[in-house]
Symmetry: C2
Subunit: 180 residues, 2 copies
């Protein structure tokens, strides 16, 4: 088991229990690794584990969503791909956004720059795609912010209410804003 293989498991542990709630007992159980192994891979303890997970998530979004939004020759296709990825990644609201959850918790300060960078890059990448779709810069910025916020809200609401269709309904509404 390599360090990189542990990150997704760590991610799920933090998603389920939060940073404080994910005790070493939970983490060892969830990853199958003993305390010794964990501290071998992450000498900095829980803080380093969470930082590594955030980095891993960031890299995934960058590669799968942000770069395509900024670079793709077809911005419309990139935006469609984003919506597919969002539904798949967050499992229609069943799976929370760890970065968003950290933003709401008091762990926010500890990972402030990573949390900010994640959302900043998402909004900027989406705005770039919207501009290339023909929207003027000001409108593109506003819509991008609105949409990224809306996704976070959809996750919150989907977790709050036992309504299987809620997430996709809200996302569909947001998606309409990114079409032209």
């Amino acid at each position: 088991m390599e360090r990189a293989d542990v990150l997704p498991l760590l991610g799920e542990a933090f998603r389920e229990h939060g940073f404080e709630g994910a005790s070493l007992s939970v983490i060892t159980q969830r990853t199958g690794l003993g305390r010794g192994s964990l501290y071998h891979f992450f000498p900095g303890g829980k803080a380093e584990m969470a930082a590594a997970v955030l980095e891993d998530i960031d890299a995934w979004f960058d590669h799968e969503i942000f770069v395509p939004l900024r670079m793709a020759t077809d911005p419309r296709a990139a935006i469609n791909a984003m919506w597919e990825a969002v539904s798949a990644y967050f499992q229609s609201g069943q799976r929370i956004c760890l970065v968003g959850a950290f933003a709401l918790s008091d762990t926010r300060d500890r990972f402030a720059s990573a949390v900010n960078a994640y959302f900043a890059r998402w909004i900027e990448a989406l705005a770039a795609a919207l501009r290339r779709l023909g929207h003027d810069a000001k409108y593109a910025d506003a819509i991008a912010e609105q949409v990224v916020a809306g996704i976070q809200g959809a996750i919150t609401l989907a977790r709050a209410r036992p309504d299987a269709g809620l997430f996709e309904r809200v996302v569909t509404g947001l998606r309409a804003m990114t079409e032209k």
Copy 2:
């Protein structure tokens, strides 16, 4: 110091540290009450404190926002009042929504019905006002869901990014959806 006076202080403690993170040390310090007093008022411990806070929040929203939305003779005025209240209550995104934060954490299951009821009533009340504004029922339901989700997302994003104007920008966009 009466039990009712402690609830807002408890609320802030939970907002700042979350349910798990708000240790009794934090709570005693934040409320100025010793363990003895706290367990006198809330024999059920932290769980009862959090439940009481949720009930308190729910009552406030019901009285200040939900009932006006459902009952007011002038739905437009009630909706405007809602937006004023939202900005003031969440302090332009500086103050998080405890119910939303609980929804994202693993404490969700513990307070599932309270969390669900809060959002269900908000959406339903807003939809009722929108219907009385002349929107058809289906559209009103969709917009209400979209808007309540958007508010939660705006809070998340505002906490994630050091941008003082972000919350109000997103809220202004949402507000436009509730006008006709």
